[in-house]
């Protein structure tokens, strides 16, 4: 235990591990605080394949990826506190005081920089307004995944899945392989949220029907769920009267979206972006509070862990810098066609020749062109055969000759599918 750390990473999942590696590689003294007893975060229960294709050029399962990331820390001497939770943060002059709780009681930790790598949380039944009683048998996809993959419990024998996000699709396959019957996946939107690959290999392979523009409107059951009511929805997502159907089942799995977790960020008034629900950052992953950085799913929900690790490592390297220039921020404006854009600002007192940027589109486009303008002059134009909202796009942008009066704007135009 050090009297003061250069960098404290809150969260020991993929973002936290890569951030700790980045900071350690630059010689910083690093502490990782993790609330679970083991590092690795959600990867521990993501036993399916497909991680690491970008970062390690080989397909791996979540546990393998987590182990590989943990081993990257081997050359460094850093402190790790598991089963520890940050309950308060105080801003001091040029440093922070963290109040933590653990098996050993309350403790204060001093740190010069913080990396928020707290991940995201699943939306729950309460947040999607399902009416009815409160029986057992309603799980978020991640909870069902934890029961099956970590504990060895099968939480349902006959279930329906609400939401076509990737975790929901992967759970449809997993439940089927373990002997449960998945009666159907229902998606309120008119297009699936998950990756095409998962629609193919998780649903079509097992003849699991996918119903679009359909939602679960009610749940039935006293102690245990015994049925759900589904209904078609109109274009504004309101259930259409007369289309209701009752489906007998003992499980309802919710895969209805993820929200970045920023409870700790809010303690120190980090400014959040309403479109990503995560902190606004500059190209070095620093938030609006100097010395506080954000990475991984706390920053924005990613669909590839490889990009989580890449960004978090950059955040770690930036947080380890001993001197920091005075920020001079210019906004990166999000024009038509884009629903999220990170980073939200450029600090022109830092290098901006290779800015790793991420965006999502508002709807599916084909033959689309992304254009980046600086003062109405296009500096980059990229063609996309097809872009879909569930797939986050990554782009490294070379900006040049910016001043504090520069206006940066990104737009995307294409054929609507």
């Amino acid at each position: 235990m050090k009297s003061i750390y250069d960098v404290t990473v809150i969260g020991g999942g993929p973002a936290g591990l890569a951030a700790a590696k980045g900071a350690s590689s630059k010689g910083a003294s690093v502490l990782i605080i993790e609330r679970e007893s083991l590092l690795g975060g959600i990867l521990k229960q993501c036993i399916h394949d497909g991680f690491g294709l970008h970062r390690y050029h080989a397909p791996m399962t979540g546990p393998e990826y987590a182990e590989k990331e943990y081993q990257q820390l081997a050359p460094f001497s850093l402190d790790i506190s598991t089963q520890t939770y940050v309950i308060n943060i105080n801003s001091m002059n040029d440093s922070f005081e963290l109040l933590t709780t653990s098996r050993f009681g309350y403790r204060t930790i001093h740190t010069r920089n913080i990396i928020l790598a707290t991940g995201c949380r699943e939306r729950t039944a309460k947040q999607v307004f399902i009416h009815g009683s409160r029986p057992a048998g309603i799980f978020t996809a991640g909870t069902a995944q934890y029961y099956i993959n970590r504990m060895g419990y099968l939480p349902t024998k006959r279930c329906v899945i609400l939401g076509s996000g990737d975790v929901g699709l992967i759970m449809a396959r997993r439940l089927t392989l373990e002997g449960a019957t998945v009666l159907g996946v229902f998606e309120a939107k008119n297009e699936p949220s998950g990756l095409t690959r998962n629609l193919h290999q998780c649903l079509e392979d097992f003849d699991i029907p996918l119903s679009l523009s359909t939602t679960v409107t009610r749940v039935f059951g006293e102690e245990r769920l015994n049925a759900v009511e589904i209904a078609k929805v109109d274009s504004s997502m309101n259930p259409i009267r007369g289309t209701e159907k009752i489906i007998a089942c003992d499980g309802l799995i919710l895969s209805v979206g993820l929200i970045p977790e920023n409870e700790q960020a809010e303690l120190i008034n980090v400014q959040l972006d309403p479109s990503t629900h995560g902190p606004m950052i500059t190209q070095d992953f620093m938030t609006s509070v100097p010395g506080v950085y954000s990475a991984g799913n706390a920053l924005q929900v990613h669909d590839l862990v490889d990009y989580v690790s890449e960004g978090a490592e950059c955040a770690g390297i930036a947080a380890a810098q001993t001197s920091r220039p005075i920020p001079m921020l210019i906004p990166i404006q999000k024009g038509s066609g884009l629903s999220t854009l990170v980073p939200q600002h450029l600090n022109i007192n830092l290098p901006y020749q290779n800015v790793i940027s991420y965006f999502r589109v508002t709807r599916t486009y084909q033959n689309a062109t992304l254009t980046i303008y600086v003062d109405d002059r296009p500096i980059l134009s990229k063609r996309y055969v097809r872009v879909r909202p569930p797939e986050m796009e990554r782009l490294v942008v070379q900006y040049s000759a910016l001043s504090e009066a520069s206006i940066i704007r990104w737009t995307l135009e294409g054929e609507i599918v």
Partner: protein
């Protein structure tokens, strides 16, 4: 019989159309040549990698995640699941260790994808020593 299939080789997601004509698979709507062998494989013998878990005797880590070392025929997934659900691991295996050799004569092994010996570094208590500032 004409079958529609979304290609998953790249993000273009071509909507392939496959037809069996005169003893040959005829694939249309593929924007690149990689879609054709994919479609034929999918129609004749689709292959999948399988990930699952097997029971362990370790009370703190009751399940070991595993995967097939290579893709296996999709039609065999449920039979392989039965085998995986019938075994128990009591050794401190490591990532990549063979749990079942040549499962169901596929030539494919079942591999551990996690360490049972100190997974992810195990619990970290060293930083939990009494700190300089207790409140």
């Amino acid at each position: 019989m004409n079958k529609e299939l979304t290609c998953i080789i790249c993000p273009n997601s071509c909507k392939l159309s496959i037809e069996f004509i005169d003893g040959e698979w005829n694939v249309t709507n593929a924007r690149c040549p990689r879609g054709i062998p994919f479609a034929v494989q999918e129609m004749t013998n689709p292959l999948r990698t399988l990930s699952s878990t097997v029971k362990t005797t370790f009370p703190n880590f009751p399940l070991l995640p595993v995967k097939t070392s290579d893709a296996v025929p999709q039609s065999m997934l449920l039979s392989i699941m039965k085998i995986l659900n019938s075994i128990e691991v009591s050794d401190s295996v490591h990532v990549g260790d063979v749990i079942i050799k040549n499962v169901m004569n596929t030539g494919v092994d079942i591999l551990a994808t996690c360490n049972l010996d100190n997974p992810y570094g195990g619990e970290h208590r060293e930083a939990e020593e009494p700190a300089d500032t207790n409140i």
